[in-house]
Symmetry: C2
Subunit: 476 residues, 2 copies
């Protein structure tokens, strides 16, 4: 069957050429396409539907936490960027700049936002007057732009979609607590919605956000053992509050600067879940975000009663709140199996004349690629339970893989061997930038996050006493 082969050949081998596998999968399943400007992507409906599901899940969590959505302008005066010294140093090399508009040269160039601390700081400075106005907690869903040299769909593109939350508190303790609370929210979301285990912890000074006092990160292990930064939260202290005059009159009548923090995740999460769960056949989508959770494939669909039974099943499942697709196209069942497997649909139900007669249906689960015959009575309950089981299994499988691939190291050679083997390396670090730079140079690995549970004795690089225990890895 020609079309079948075409599919199988369409995707590079996941074990021997993972980068090409990724490119093949994201393009051929129509998640994404390349835009006409270098480094840009078009998010196609199948990819955008994943993003909508991510948005819905995260947005309801933010709102339940008391965060409100707003929208701030895309264009930021260049002068804003320079008000926080570290911030401009970090972002200036990556910005896109509007110099002309309305047929005229602008007096001041405008930066297309790479992130919005500056413009939101400016507005918060206008809005905050009294301790009664605090905390102020807002979030926006928007596009941002960072001009990158090397780009890959979802992972690193010049424009991407994200949410960025920004809060001001009266005290540093409260702002730091929010920084950790949002990190925990991201972790819960990653685990329960993306079925993706993560490591969370504080970033080193070298790896922190430009302008932050402290950055916390959420890192996930991809199929090839590399790490993907999947979300960050930042405690800014008074850096941005001072740069943008975010001041309030406290209960004691004194005028004080606020303490700010921010947090963000992006369409990069789509890349993260693809590279966490995907397999040789293509995508394996976590049920909570899959655009199609169940595909129904009729067998011998021209036989009387088959399509009718499929439609009844489709309605039953839709009424249970499931996202269902009945594939009644003219393609052969085999062609459909391949297509929907490549597209990562969690469950496939096959329904033919004999199944219908026997009151049964065949359920294929995408993660195990196993079929089982089940009664078609209580179909909705069966499917809901199977989707939940698959979500749990995806998480357990990814977690077991990550745990088995976190190795210790006492020396740079051990660290190099570890990352060469596709592992995260857990090792001591003295806290000196020189040693962190040496690790990068020697092993092309970076400090992803520091472990909250510090127990390493010596620095993996210089052998001096360790001040931190760090997860080192190669990273996207």
């Amino acid at each position: 069957m020609a079309k079948n082969e075409q599919f199988v050949k369409a995707i590079a081998d996941i074990e021997t050429d993972f980068p090409q596998w990724y490119t093949d999968v994201v393009v051929k399943t129509k998640l994404v396409d390349y835009g006409p400007v270098k480094g840009t992507m078009v998010i196609r409906p199948y990819g955008y539907a994943i993003w909508e599901n991510i948005q819905r899940e995260l947005d309801s969590r933010f709102k339940a936490n008391g965060v409100e959505n707003a929208y701030f302008p895309l264009l930021i005066p260049m002068s804003f960027m320079t008000k926080e010294a570290e911030h401009v140093e970090g972002f200036a090399p990556e910005v896109a700049v509007v110099t002309h508009a309305g047929g005229e040269k602008l007096e001041e160039p405008l930066v297309v936002r790479p992130t919005s601390e500056t413009i939101i700081g400016h507005m918060f400075g206008k809005w905050v007057e009294s301790w009664r106005d605090l905390p102020l907690r807002q979030n926006q869903w928007c596009n941002v732009m960072r001009w990158e040299k090397t780009t890959r769909p979802f992972l690193r593109t010049s424009e991407f979609l994200w949410q960025e939350g920004h809060s001001v508190y009266a005290s540093g303790e409260e702002a730091e607590a929010e920084t950790l609370r949002m990190l925990a929210l991201y972790r819960e979301f990653a685990e329960n919605v993306l079925c993706m285990p993560v490591l969370t912890g504080r970033k080193t000074e070298k790896e922190k956000f430009a302008g932050a006092v402290a950055t916390y990160g959420m890192e996930a292990m991809m199929h090839d053992g590399k790490s993907l930064q999947s979300g960050t939260t930042h405690y800014m202290g008074q850096n941005f509050a001072k740069a943008f005059n975010v001041q309030f009159t406290d209960k004691d009548g004194a005028l004080k600067y606020g303490y700010t923090m921010s947090y963000g995740v992006s369409t990069r999460l789509i890349g993260a879940l693809i590279m966490t769960h995907g397999d040789a056949r293509g995508l394996v989508l976590p049920p909570p975000v899959a655009p199609v959770q169940v595909v129904i494939v009729p067998i011998a669909q021209k036989k009387e009663g088959v399509l009718e039974a499929c439609h009844v099943l489709e309605e039953t499942l839709k009424n249970a709140g499931l996202r269902v697709k009945l594939d009644d196209s003219d393609n052969s069942p085999g062609w459909k199996f391949n297509e929907w497997e490549m597209k990562g649909v969690p469950l496939r139900i096959e329904l033919g004349p004999r199944d219908i007669e026997a009151g049964k249906m065949l359920v294929f689960r995408r993660d195990t690629c196993e079929k089982q015959e089940v009664s078609s009575e209580h179909a909705a309950e069966t499917v809901v339970a199977e989707l939940a089981a698959m979500g749990n299994a995806l998480f357990a499988r990814a977690k077991a893989r990550m745990q088995s691939r976190i190795v210790p190291a006492n020396t740079l050679d051990e660290l190099l061997a570890g990352v060469n083997g596709g592992n995260f390396v857990r090792a001591g670090w003295c806290g000196e930038r020189a040693c962190e730079d040496k690790v990068k140079e020697f092993a092309q690995a970076t400090a992803r996050v520091m472990d909250d549970h510090h127990d390493a004795a010596t620095c993996v690089c210089c052998g001096k006493p360790a001040r931190h225990t760090v997860f080192f890895a190669r990273a996207y």
Copy 2:
């Protein structure tokens, strides 16, 4: 009471200074604020929540119609803009241009999208191959930028949020039918969700979208009798398909150009509903999109049992799916009444010790500003019914106003008197651009839409036989 007076004085008189009333209302109710770059706006949480409600209602309608969401890049190569001659002429004067990025001057300047026909045309050209790929119907929710000289929050800003839907069909008939179907969808949405009567119809050549064969518009009458264009749909024929090679192999094996159409509404709708329903006290928000549908104000809230009863009521209403706010702040009831009236909350429920004892509650309706005492039994049903009644009343009131303010005219003098009186003028037009220009010059009025029911005998300008019956008005 000082704070009360402050509120009353805060808003200019709606009858004598409507423009200032509008500015006061949008800023003081915290719907919006001015951004640091001229002509930009910040949509604050109270305004953004209205947008989210608009999005949810429209998005579900698009999806029910089979349209899928996607996301296309913000930056468009300048060369794309010039591929459709009328399009570039219309939009070139308004675009913002990125000339530098990543620290370097770009080889080709990039336009910040003012609309996405060109870049979406380019992608559709890549994706469409066969008649099996048609129709292709996609929509995106995004920001767009049009550099305007005179700006007002929501109505005209250099950046705004919108949705833009784009479809390709195999035949012109189908694409035209979709253009009219989406116009009807917008109208149904305006009437049922925004409680806003509209006139719909085809635009004149002068007023059509740059690059379209035909544009259809939805116009609403504002409080001052001016018209606000609130949504448009465009039939493009093969103009963009030819410019971007959107070609398909038809069933007969021949290679043919597709026919495209597009449609959009924006955050301008927020301005439309404010200026349709607002009154001397401030906003009057249609229940389907109000961020807070019901505010509960406790009376003598320190008395035992009052806050408890308010919380019970709050839960009851929330469980019925309503958006409810219990204002248990320290402000006086009078202060709260003023604040929530200015913010346009549809219903206010006052609950004090005597009400609780009597099993009653006082319900204030924002549109009529009348209070009635009702039983607190079946509170949810009562409130749901009252919100529905208010929605119907808002629509009926606005519709009656619009109908009473559409006047006929046989001469330019009558037309001028009509628009001077704050009316829409329904009059004949010969179809010549010269007459349309003359009306603009003489009466500062433009052809908003042409009436489907053409019955005028002579052109209001030249007196020759009328080819169309047109609604002329001054417009935002």
